[in-house]
Subunit: 110 residues, 2 copies
């Protein structure tokens, strides 16, 4: 069976900063409140998780994740207010895209 998929890519000034490759980490940081737990849930190393976050923060219009050094957990990460705004909008977009894709897949004729 042939199906169409439309992975959402969010660009700022011509450069992608959110995609299916990195959005899951942000969502997991938001739900777990811990970078370590988030990294584990998507099966990347703690170091790789930092790298992904650095890339997002650099490419986004404003930092989406705030690093917290120290503490009993050895430092952590919080979604910034701006990040929360973007994640909320992303979710709304995701819903529209899924609806559109599912309609598109009923129409394809191949």
């Amino acid at each position: 069976m042939i199906t169409i998929h439309l992975p959402i890519h969010v660009y700022f000034d011509g450069k992608v900063f959110l995609s299916p490759d990195n959005i899951e980490l942000l969502k997991k940081i938001q739900t777990t409140g811990s970078l370590n737990a988030a990294a584990k849930e998507i099966s990347v190393s703690y170091q790789n998780a930092w790298t992904i976050i650095d890339q997002i923060n650099k490419a986004a219009p404003q930092p989406m994740v705030i690093k917290q050094r120290g503490g009993s957990g050895g430092g952590g990460a919080l979604i910034s207010d701006y990040g929360k705004l973007i994640l909320k909008e992303y979710e709304a977009i995701e819903k529209e895209v899924l609806k559109f894709t599912s309609q598109l897949n009923t129409e394809i004729n191949i």
Copy 2:
């Protein structure tokens, strides 16, 4: 400025066989009628172009490209009837997706 992009991925039985990464080669084969010319136009080597085509043919429900051995040009490639059908449908989908994306981009609020 933040913009959303929705690159089209076409799957058959859970495996992608068309994406922005390989669709251009097929389109160029169709317009130039030559694998060599098509490869040059998208700046990949002739050998890489064959590899891309082999991957598409293997993953698609039916071969999209027919290889032609020999001849003055050292062999070539033709889009199969099935490939033409898929490319036509892809173009129709592309138009719908571009329209939807452009509407989506007027609505985003971030």
